[in-house]
Symmetry: C2
C-alpha cells in the first residue's frame, strides 16, 4: 500500500478518509502488506483526531468484512439477535440470557471472549461446566443456532481477523482508549454474527472500562449510532459496575448463580438485568409493543422453566455432561479451601467495590494477568454482602474459595478493603441508569 | 524496556517524562530493545501532545549522547562554532561560510547532510569538486579542525545513531512535522560537534520546511531556546526562501557561485547572508562588541582573500584536486546541454519561485526523489532573474544546464512557470527578516 503514509498524514492533519480508503487499509492490514510501525502511528493519530460518523461506519464494516461471517437463512419469525457487555465483575448475564432468548424463539449466535485482568469472560465461565466446549467450527455454530436456537462459542480463526491484528497492536502501543477504535472493534465482531438486532450492556464504574457514567454514556451513544448506521437495530442499557453483579465472582461460582437464575431464583439484580435485556430484544424486534409487556413475557418464560430447558439442551449439544454438572452443583465448593469473612461491626454495607473484588478473584487464579495465564475456574468469592444489606457483628461479608489457606487469607485481607460498613442505610441506586436508542 | 507502554500512555494522556525516562528511551532505541511499532506510536503521541522545555532538553541531550561526539581541546581563543540551515533552494552558504569562519580564527567542525527532494545538501555540492571526499573518519575531522580550523564532512556512522533511527521511523510513519522532534533532531546532531556557539539560518517560504514566517519564527525560537538550555550560545536568523538564494541552483553551479563569493564577488544576497552569519558568530563569541563592527571584520576577511585561501587549503586537505577544479571553473558549463530561457515581454521580474526552481533542478537529476537516488552534479539553473530585476523582451530569465535537449526543454517549460514578469517594479523585501536571541 504505497499511499499509506499519505493516509497517515491526512488523518494526522485532521482529514477524513473515504469508504474506499478504509476498505483498502483494512484489506492491507489483513494481507500483511503494511508495516506494523506505520499501523500503530496511524492508530495513534486516530486516537487524537477521531473519526467522523461516516468513517466509523466504514471502518466497522471493513473490519466486519475482513473475514468469515455467520449467515443465517431469512426467517422473519426467528430474528437473529445477540447481547454484548463491555465487561465487569460478576457479569454472568450471557449464561442465563442466551438460552432465555432462544426459548423466546430467537436465534442467538453468541460469540464471546475470554476474560482479561479483572473482567471475566463468558468462555472461561462456560469452561467450568464438565465437558463443555466453546471451540466450535463455523458450520456447527450455524447448525446449533438454526436447530436449537443458540450456540455459545469463541470466535473462529477466520472471523474478523482485522480486529485481532489491530487490537493486538493497539494493546501494545497505547491506542486502546480510542472511542472510535473501541466502537469498531466491538461492533465488527458482533456484526459479523449476521444479526437483526443487538442489545448492549454498557457498564460504568470502578470495575468498568469506562469509569464515569458520562464516559459510559458516550460509548453507549457511539455504539448505538454506528451499529444502527450499519443496519442493525441496536439499543444499549447503561448499568452500574461500581458493585459486582449478583452475589458471586469467579467462574464456577458464577455458573452456579446463573443456574439459579435460570431456575427462576438467584439474586435480584442479575434477574432484573437478564429480564430487562430480553425485554429490550422483544421490543426491538417488534415481538412486543411495550417494555412492560415484554418484561412480563420474558419473566414468564424464565420462571416457566423453558429457558432452563434450553440451557440443558445447549450444554448437552456442546459436549457438556449434565450428570457430572448436577453433581458439581450439589457441592458447596469445588475449591480446596473456603474461608468465611465476617463483619466486625454492626450496620449497613455502604460499599462493595467491584474493582477490588475483581482484583482479588483474579489474583486467586480466577482471572488472567496476561493473555497466556491459565484460569482456575474453582476459585472466587460468593455470598457477597452488597450495599444496603444490614449486617450484625459476626455476619458473613463473603466467602473466599481458594486453592490454599495462604491464598485464602491473603484474599480475605484484601477483600475486607472492598467492603465498608456504616451506620446509616445507603441508597444503592438503580442498576440500570438509562436506555439508549438510535437517534438519542 | 518493560515499561515503555506506560511511557507511551503517559505521553498520550498529556503527561511529562523525566530526564531519566528520556535517557532510558533513547538508550533502548539505540540498543534495539524497543519494538518499532511502539516507537512510532510514541512519536505520534509526541506530535500531538508536545514536549515541555525540560523534556525537549532531555530528549535532545539523550540523542546527542547516543553515540560518539566530537571533543576539542579547550582553547578560548579559538571557539568551536558552526552554522545550521533548515534548507532551501540555492542555499550554498556553508561553502563560503565555513572557510570564512576558519579564516576568522574559529574552529569549524561542519558536519552536513545530503539533499532530499528540492532541498540541496552541502555534501552533494562538495562532491562536485574533483577528488573532494566528505567521508572522513572522526580522528581526521578532529585533526583538520584543530590544525586547519575547518573540516566539512558527513556524519560518521557512530555519531547520533538515535537520530538516524528515529528520523527514519518518523519519515515512514508521519511524525516528521513535530516541532519538538525537529528541534531534537537538528540540535542533537549539531551539539554532538562539541560546539561553543551555533548560528542557525531558519528559512520560511515556498521552498522552506516552514511555509510561513510565523511557523519559521516558532521553529527558530524553539531551536534557540533549547540549544541555549543545552549550554550552547545560539542565535538564529529568519530568512526568506520564497526566492532561491543567489543566482544558481544545482550542485556544481552553486560551487562555482560560492567560489565567486569567496573571491569577494558573487550575488549580493549570498554575500549579505554569509557576512551576516559570520558577524553573528563574532558577536556571540564576544570577539566583536557590535554587529556593525563584526560585519566589517567579516567583510575585510572575505575581501582580503583569507577565506579563499582557507577554502583552497580545505579542498586540498580533503583530497580535492585544485588544478582540475580550476579547469572546471573556467568552463561555462559541465552539462552537455545549455538552454537559455528568455523573457517574451518587458517589465520587472515580480516572482522567482524557489519551490518550482527546486523541483525543476531535482527533476533534471540534480536532487533526490528518494534517499537512494544518484545525483547529477552538472545540471541546474544559473543566471536566474530575481524579483526586482528589469527585463526587456528577449532578455535572459535563466539558463538550464541539462543532460539532454529533451530534459532541457521540459525543464525550460516548467521553469517559465516559476518566473512572473509584471509592469511595476516590486519591493523584493529583505532577505533577513529577524534575528532570534536566547530569551526572545
Amino acid at each position: 500500500m504505497e499511499v499509506f503514509l499519505s493516509l497517515i498524514e491526512r488523518k494526522r492533519d485532521g482529514g477524513v478518509l473515504s469508504d474506499a480508503e478504509w476498505k483498502r487499509f483494512v484489506g492491507a492490514v489483513v494481507a500483511g502488506q503494511l508495516e506494523t510501525y506505520q499501523i500503530t502511528a496511524f492508530l495513534m493519530a486516530i486516537l487524537f483526531r477521531g473519526l467522523d460518523v461516516s468513517e466509523r461506519r466504514s471502518l466497522t464494516l471493513a473490519m466486519r468484512d475482513s473475514g468469515e461471517m455467520l449467515e443465517f437463512a431469512c426467517d422473519p419469525g426467528r430474528p437473529v439477535v445477540d447481547k454484548h457487555s463491555t465487561g465487569g465483575v460478576g457479569d454472568k448475564v450471557s449464561l442465563p440470557l442466551a438460552p432465555l432468548l432462544a426459548a423466546l424463539g430467537f436465534r442467538v449466535p453468541m460469540i464471546s471472549g475470554r476474560g482479561l485482568g479483572i473482567t471475566g469472560g463468558t468462555l472461561d465461565k462456560l469452561s467450568a461446566i464438565p465437558g463443555f466446549t466453546t471451540a466450535l467450527p463455523r458450520p456447527r455454530i450455524l447448525e446449533l443456532v438454526e436447530t436449537l436456537g443458540v450456540a455459545m462459542a469463541g470466535q473462529t480463526e477466520r472471523m474478523v481477523p482485522a480486529d485481532r491484528i489491530l487490537y493486538a497492536l493497539r494493546d501494545a502501543s497505547g491506542s486502546v482508549p480510542s472511542l472510535d477504535l473501541i466502537t469498531a472493534s466491538i461492533l465488527s465482531k458482533k456484526l459479523a454474527e449476521g444479526l437483526d438486532a443487538l442489545v448492549l450492556d454498557v457498564k460504568f464504574g470502578s470495575a468498568a472500562f469506562m469509569p464515569t457514567q458520562a464516559r459510559g454514556r458516550d460509548l453507549a451513544r457511539a455504539l448505538v449510532s454506528i451499529a444502527t448506521e450499519c443496519g442493525v437495530r441496536t439499543r444499549a442499557v447503561l448499568t452500574d459496575m461500581n458493585t459486582p453483579l449478583g452475589l458471586t465472582a469467579g467462574n464456577w461460582l458464577e455458573v452456579k448463580e446463573s443456574e439459579a437464575c435460570l431456575r427462576g431464583g438467584g439474586p435480584a439484580d442479575l434477574r432484573e438485568l437478564v429480564i430487562d435485556l430480553a425485554a429490550h430484544v422483544l421490543v426491538q424486534t417488534a415481538r412486543e409493543a411495550s417494555l412492560e409487556r415484554a418484561r412480563h413475557t420474558a419473566t414468564t418464560c424464565l420462571d416457566g422453566g423453558a429457558a432452563h430447558g434450553k440451557w440443558r439442551e445447549l450444554i448437552s449439544a456442546q459436549g457438556g455432561r449434565l450428570d457430572d454438572f448436577e453433581r458439581l452443583l450439589a457441592a458447596d465448593s469445588l475449591a480446596p479451601v473456603v474461608l468465611e469473612v465476617r463483619s466486625d461491626r454492626s450496620g449497613f454495607v455502604t460499599r462493595c467495590d467491584a474493582r477490588v473484588v475483581g482484583e482479588v478473584v483474579r489474583d486467586l487464579g480466577g482471572g488472567r494477568h496476561t493473555r497466556d495465564s491459565v484460569v482456575d475456574v474453582r476459585v472466587g468469592i460468593d455470598r457477597l454482602a452488597k450495599p444496603g444489606t444490614r449486617v450484625r457483628a459476626g455476619d458473613l461479608l463473603g466467602r473466599i474459595h481458594a486453592e490454599s489457606t495462604d491464598a485464602a487469607e491473603e484474599a480475605a485481607r484484601r477483600f475486607r478493603e472492598a467492603i465498608d460498613v456504616g451506620d446509616s442505610q445507603p441508597d444503592p441506586g438503580p442498576l440500570i441508569h438509562d436506555v439508549m436508542l438510535a437517534g438519542d
